[in-house]
């Protein structure tokens, strides 16, 4: 059931629980119409998560003490490179969206994701990014009346 490096999960689990407990600290004095109040459930959940985290840390340490070479989940930071790059592109897209607008921000995002996942054929990248943006814009903006951000294009239109 437990793995040698479950201590990583255990630490994260405790951290999440601790953040939740910290977050509800200031609500301790809040009056509520119900007897449980706003902090009861988050507190129970947080302690539950901390408890499960602690169990995993102890179990992983015990396994290590026993020098049990049980299998563990291995993380290679290098493998996360494409994820980090896509996230970075997403952040740039989010930052650019209000200014450049949807029609101009989306094609570079699509193109970047395609390049990150290994696509090298420029015509395919250009075609996919422009076509997808056009189709999505048409469906959401005109078809479903969603006011997608237009950025500086709004003034031009």
């Amino acid at each position: 059931m437990f793995k040698r490096n479950d201590w990583i999960f255990g630490l994260v689990a405790i951290l999440v629980g601790a953040v939740a407990l910290f977050g509800i600290q200031e609500l301790a004095d809040v009056q509520s119409m119900d007897p449980a109040g706003p902090t009861a459930l988050p507190r129970i959940l947080a302690w539950g998560m901390i408890g499960i985290g602690a169990i995993h840390i102890i179990a992983a340490l015990l396994l290590r003490l026993k020098e049990n070479k049980g299998e563990g989940t291995t993380f290679s930071l290098r493998a996360f490179r494409p994820v980090a790059l896509i996230v970075a592109c997403g952040c740039v897209f989010i930052a650019a969206l209000p200014y450049l607008g949807y029609p101009l921000s989306m094609p570079p995002l699509i193109a970047a994701v395609m390049v990150i996942v290994g696509e090298r054929r420029a015509p395919r990248i250009i075609k996919t990014s422009l076509l997808t943006t056009a189709v999505l814009f048409a469906i959401f903006y005109w078809g479903l009346n969603v006011s997608l951000p237009l950025g500086f294009l709004e003034e031009l239109i």
Binding site: P35, P38, L45, A79, L109, I110, E119, F140
Partner: protein, 497 residues
């Protein structure tokens, strides 16, 4: 019977059939687009119903409602991104089947079970609307709490070899559901002074991040995919009679569950699909195959969430209470046309409720055709090169989550959930448990606190004041204990053998 024939007479007019067909197709397409659910698809059509005959207008919306609940399952199977909240459960086994090369089985299991579930819902509505409404009214806060608790016990079995990880993921989902304004005290909770978190996290961005973006991240990590030739033949074989026979009993049970859940105001299709999935997984002889491509994992949620369409009409038509967002839109349509739903509607204007009953039945037959067309069209998505597919999924989930709320903040939520999701995947923490905790967490907390007000602060009173809640809580407790100790029992048996 004469009233049903009256309803049939209205439905069989060409305008009604045309509107039903248009509604079903629009709903299915709307459901397929992430961020657009049945409610939004109905709301978009509402202004067009002003000039219509009331019966025809309601039929159009009923068609959209049915199609919308089904449509969400198509992207769930093909790209692992549920089009609607209720299709979240379909991702677990539907997408796994698609990846195993059994796309046809997954898509048609979803179509057939949706149609079947919808029909069961319609028949239930025809014959037991009034008694069902009284059953629904017997469910108070304590019963809702117990029902949600029972559904949550599924998290214990989602953690594969580590039950505790499944429980942690469920607790994490519940914790996420507590973010935002507290419904009773009216104070912001766990928002860390981020204004956009005041309304809490929304289901659509959370699901898109945890399911779709996580899958994109996962595939991008698995090496270069740009040159992968994906022009393989997609298997679209229609499941045979033997499969249908196997699915029928489960589909019937889950549809019945869907009708019951649908009749309860506030529960809805998402809760129904999760409870049905949980029920089938726990009752199955091979629970370990769920999440790895068991067709019953598609049949259960789809038959339940489409049966909800019939059940949800019960409180609306019999009591005048809209139990879900979609039926609230329907109520809006009633009001536009000066129709007051409630018990007197059956006496004053019987053609309206009985036309709706019949229309729901016919809409589900039309859904077979609409579904077939949409499947043939949508399956092309699976044939586009993988690099383009991953990029399109990113574009679609970002656009869909923005469209749902009109806030850029929701795109940030998708991105963060994607990052959380990929680490959960690598750490073998089940996303499904987090989504389940998120869906049921709010229902559980709100109803527990309401029940505590009723029981004057007695926690024991919540469980013992009603027979229904006592039984449901006992089942939930037994289910948790079984999930915790069953692996130990199995290991012991294996060791002795």
């Amino acid at each position: 019977m004469s009233n049903i024939l009256l309803g049939l007479k209205y439905v069989m007019q060409w305008q009604s059939l045309l509107m039903l067909g248009v509604g079903v197709l629009w709903g299915t397409v709307g459901g397929m687009i992430p961020g657009i659910n049945a409610t939004i698809a109905m709301a978009l059509l509402l202004p067009f119903t002003w000039g219509m005959d009331p019966v025809v207008a309601i039929m159009l919306l009923a068609g959209v409602y049915c199609g919308g609940e089904y449509g969400g399952s198509i992207p769930a199977v093909l790209i692992g991104a549920p089009g609607t909240n209720a299709a979240a459960c379909t991702v677990f086994d539907g997408y796994a089947l698609h990846r195993k090369g059994e796309t046809g089985k997954a898509l048609y299991a979803s179509l057939f079970s949706s149609v079947f579930g919808g029909m069961v819902g319609a028949v239930a509505l025809m014959f037991i609307a009034i008694p069902l409404s009284s059953v629904a009214l017997a469910f108070g806060p304590a019963e809702y709490f117990a029902l949600a608790a029972m559904g949550l016990t599924l998290v214990c079995s989602l953690g594969e070899d580590n039950v505790l990880k499944g429980i942690w993921a469920g607790l994490f989902g519940m914790l996420l559901s507590t973010i935002g304004f507290d419904p009773f005290a009216g104070c912001p909770r766990l928002t860390f002074d981020v204004l956009s978190l005041s309304d809490g996290l929304k289901m659509i961005p959370l699901m898109m991040g945890l399911f779709a973006l996580t899958e994109v991240f996962n595939q991008s990590m698995s090496g270069t995919v740009g040159d992968t030739a994906e022009h393989k033949k997609i298997d679209l074989t229609v499941p045979g009679l033997a499969d249908l026979k196997k699915w029928l009993p489960w589909g019937t049970l889950c549809a019945a569950l869907g009708v019951l859940i649908g009749a309860m105001p506030g529960a809805g299709a998402t809760v129904a699909s999760f409870l049905a999935y949980s029920f089938v997984k726990k009752s199955s002889k091979d629970p370990d195959s769920f999440g790895k491509g068991n067709p019953l994992g598609v049949v259960a949620p789809e038959s339940a969430n489409n049966a909800v369409t019939g059940g949800a009409m019960v409180p609306l038509l019999a009591l005048g209470i809209p139990g879900s967002n979609s039926t609230a839109i329907m109520l809006g349509a009633f009001m536009i046309h000066n129709v007051t739903p409630g018990p007197m509607l059956f006496v004053d204007k019987p053609e309206i409720p009985y036309s709706i009953f019949t229309a729901l039945f016919v809409a589900n037959i039309l859904m077979l055709l609409a579904g077939y067309i949409c499947i043939r069209f949508a399956v092309r998505i699976a044939n586009i090169p993988k690099s383009a597919l991953l990029a399109v999924i990113v574009a679609l989930v970002f656009t869909g989550s923005y469209a749902y709320s009109g806030e850029i903040f929701d795109i940030q939520v998708v991105l963060i959930c994607g990052i959380v999701g990929i680490f959960m995947k690598k750490g073998k923490l089940p996303h499904a448990a987090t989504v389940l905790g998120f869906v049921l967490g709010f229902i559980m907390e709100a109803n527990l606190r309401r029940a505590l007000i009723v029981s004057k602060g007695s926690y024991l009173g919540v469980f013992t004041n009603s027979k229904i809640s006592t039984v449901l809580c006992l089942i939930a407790a037994a289910s948790v204990l079984w999930s915790l100790f069953a692996p130990l029992v199995r290991r012991k048996k294996a060791a002795t053998a």
